[in-house]
Amino acid sequence: MTGFLIRRVLAGILTLLVASFLLFLLVAVSGNPLATLMANPHVSPATIAAARQELGLDRPLLLRYWSWLTSMLTGNFGTSTTGQPVGSELGGRLLVTLQMVIPAVVLAAILAVLVGVVSAVRRYSVLDHTLTAVAYLFYSTPVFVVAILLKDFLAVDVNNATGHTILYTIGQNDPGTTGTWNVFADVVQHTALPVLSLTLITYAGWSRYQRAQLLDVLNADYIRLARAKGLSPRRVLYVHALRNALIPVVTVISIDFAVLIGGAVVTETAFGWQGMGQFLLNGLTGPVSPDTNVVQAWMMVVAAVVIGFNIIADILYAMLDPRIRLA
């Protein structure tokens, strides 16, 4: 187990390093952050030269990568092309994305397990067919379409019906709010629709997977044996079958969670949130872009989460299923 962990973490770090190098080259050669400045006829060449020096663009690529790498290893992600410290910015952005992704994943997981179990237990019933149809529908709908529908209909209807602004469609919070309770309510009101959008499109696939896994387990010999031995169907279902059927589902959920950290950009865009996705977009298309420090920092965080959760998924797998040995 320890050996497994060490090897996986080392391999992950190595992959991360190579990826950071490739990405750095790709982004650095893709454009000139000073292009807009240079297009300004009133800016003298001397000033542009000074700006180049300030951003370090006058140094050789490999040297620039090396200084980025060494300062990153000391926890310093450098400054963005507009002079903001990237590290502190990144922390805030990550929190914003987590504010959306964590509730969505928790809700979607609960929903997926419930729907999956109900569907499997009452296989081929009208309920199962209905749940299947709904799941397929969400599984096949882009998240921004769900978001647009929720904003234009659910939010507007709810707010009109109550005469108050209950559901917000823009932003992750209202920064002017004061008081613990108000801040909490405000965050919930802003978070509700994005979380609902993500939950709906995420639970769909998981619930199908849960259903399939549970059906597989229910047909397995050891479950048949347990039934034959006269254990109560409830006990068989919840103690034996569900436990084993959950293993692969939990694995998939933990891997997807990591992917969502970097992948919530569409939902962030649809609801105007300033999370990780917008951070990356800004680093790539913002006014002074491309911004290697921003893009690199983004990738280090997201990739570390992806790698980390893949390892966690493996460990979870082993813990839930004593037959698996990590070696």
């Binding site: 009133h42 000074a50 904003k151 507007v156 469609t169 823009i170 649809a270 105007g272």
Partner: protein, 575 residues
């Protein structure tokens, strides 16, 4: 003078003001107005109560806070600092220049040779940190924007101003009378002197923190105000909050908080207004769908005005075919500008017609139709001109040039604009259909705003390019677009390789003309040459759409670059 939108850089050139306005204000060369901007508001009659908050949606975040620093020169920032940094002259919604008597009690041309302007600073004027507003501020703002290398920013770096226009013609700025009288002497006449010393950077803050870098992050430097409001907080990507400046010496502003909320996608604004999350918005580009979406929202009013921004198609004369006047005129004649207006603009407002002037907009009194019959829609005329230029209609319905790189092939041009902007792509698609009708094949190649305005445009890597110029009320800034491209130091925005010595001569004459009527006349002469040469094809004024909650009074859309917050000090909840 000019800003590019969207992408919304105020690209350089907040230039000279050719006394755009009433003869009374300019004719004598004196600008000693008596009105405060508040008094000049045309419908300040609505009585409003003190207190309350308004949230105004901005569709782009800020790069920094020094509007006069090259990297920060953004339309959005101008709106944010309208009520923060002092201005000598403020353009009103009718594009009149109002002297801001809270800042200077008078500004007068006392001598024409050499041109000398004397400013009397309001004795009560102080920065919010207690330092008086004085001649030192004028001197610092001049030096920083003079382009003179002998003046250095903090740490010995070169100042990096947005524009040096006008300031580079100043010989000296001196203070007297305890710093409250400022005398500016020009080395050569500068007709648009009223464009100077607007958005004054506090000198003591600039010297302490630096012009280039001191205002890049929110902090103590940014919090200093010389206007009715001060910036209280800024959260990147989210919002900027302004509160009344406690040291403000003029009429107290009404609202206790103005929140500038960054909503980058216009499509998201209607729902936000409906939800009460936003009370005032102006989408980057007004569209029918936006208007329809906000039309049904109760207690909301919408106003569409013709702005100072206009869409145009440019011809790159580095292309051997576009170098021919006949071909440029053929394309202009083949472009159904009426249809563009009818389909893109008319559903929003019927007040806008095809634009017949490159320099003045129809909302300005100096506007004239100088186009003659150039650019009038005629498919037959367009085809005739293409034949005259040496092309033969092919059997596939496209002209085939008898010369040049496209000899005996379909005559093909590419058009570029910023990707992802609905109005732009609509113009392109209508244009493409129009050109097909006269036998010219158009391919569309769009770029991100950064690439288009940073590389494709300045390097001339295009055949045709479509975007908008955004003007201030003043004409002289157009020089950099239309004067001969060979003079790169002045004509950096001439991306089209256009050149006409007569235009150059007239520009130099107009720039030094202090009499407003004479200057306007010269600019119109320039414009008729631009039509004759078919330098670029103006399409139409981009309408500006404003929508706001009817609970608020004194909100008044403004076509100038100061935009709707120009009188935010007077906004308030209706009493």
């Amino acid at each position: 003078m000019i800003r590019l939108t969207p992408g919304r850089r105020l690209a350089a050139l907040v230039f000279a003001m050719a006394c755009a306005i009433g003869v009374a204000a300019c004719g004598s060369g004196t600008g000693s107005g008596t009105s405060t901007p508040a008094a000049s508001s045309t419908n300040a009659a609505v009585s409003v109560k003190s207190g309350g908050t308004i949230t105004y949606a901005l569709d782009e975040d800020l790069d920094g806070f020094n509007i006069n620093y090259a990297n920060d020169d953004e339309e959005m920032l101008q709106e944010v600092i309208d009520n923060v940094w002092p201005k000598v002259f403020v353009p009103t919604p009718s594009l009149k220049l109002a002297l801001d008597t809270d800042v200077v009690t008078s500004a007068t041309v006392t001598k024409t040779s050499p041109q000398t302007v004397v400013y009397q600073i309001n004795p009560k004027a102080t920065w919010s940190d207690g330092v008086p507003i004085s001649a030192a501020d004028f001197i610092y703002n001049w030096q920083a924007q003079s382009g003179n290398p002998k003046y250095k920013d903090k740490g010995g770096a070169a100042f990096l101003p947005t524009s040096t226009a006008g300031y580079n013609q100043i010989k000296s700025v001196t203070g007297s009378d305890g710093g409250k009288t400022v005398t500016v002497v020009f080395s050569s006449p500068f007709g648009d002197w009223q464009s100077l010393f607007n958005d004054l950077v506090p000198a003591h803050i600039g010297e302490k923190y630096g012009w280039n870098n001191g205002f890049q992050n929110f902090g103590p430097a940014v919090e200093v105000s010389g206007g009715p409001y001060e910036i209280a907080s800024y959260t990147q990507g989210e919002d900027l909050v302004e509160v009344p400046n406690p040291k403000w010496w003029g009429t107290k502003p009404k609202l206790s908080k103005i929140i500038f909320r960054f909503i980058l996608d216009d499509n998201q604004i209607p729902a936000a207004i409906q939800n009460g999350e936003v009370q005032l918005a102006e989408p980057a580009l007004a569209s029918l769908s936006f208007k329809d979406a906000v039309a049904g929202i109760p207690n909301t009013t919408t106003d569409v005005i013709a702005g100072l921004e206009f869409q145009h198609i440019d011809f790159n004369q580095a292309n051997p075919y576009l170098a021919l006047s006949d071909v440029r005129h053929a394309i202009a004649d083949g472009t159904n500008r009426e249809q563009m207006v009818q389909r893109i603009v008319s559903p929003l407002t019927t007040s806008i017609q095809p634009l017949e002037n490159h320099i003045w907009m129809p909302i300005q009194p100096q506007y004239q139709n100088t186009s003659g019959s150039y650019g009038d829609f005629s498919v037959a005329e367009a085809k005739k001109l293409l034949e005259a230029s040496g092309m033969t209609m092919g059997s596939d319905g496209y002209f085939h040039p008898n010369f040049g790189p496209e000899k005996n092939q379909d005559f093909t041009l590419s058009i570029a604009t910023t990707s992802g902007v609905e109005v732009r792509s609509q113009i392109e698609q209508l244009f493409q259909a129009d050109m097909k009708a006269i036998g010219v094949k158009i391919t569309i190649a769009n770029y991100s705003a950064n690439t288009l305005f940073g590389t494709v445009g300045p390097k001339g890597e295009f055949d045709l390019i479509e975007f908008a110029w955004v003007q201030t009320p003043f004409a002289s800034g157009t020089q950099s677009i239309y004067c001969s491209y060979t003079d790169a130091s002045v004509c950096g925005e001439n991306w089209d390789h256009y050149s006409d010595p007569q235009v150059d001569k007239l520009y130099n004459e107009a720039l030094g003309t202090i009499n407003a009527a004479q200057a306007a006349n010269l600019y119109n002469q320039i414009d008729s040459l631009l039509w004759k040469d078919m330098a670029t094809l103006p399409l139409f004024e981009q309408p500006d759409l404003y929508t706001w909650s009817t609970s608020y009074g004194n909100i008044e859309p403004d076509p100038s670059n100061n935009d709707v917050p120009w009188n935010a000090y007077a906004w308030g909840l209706k009493a």
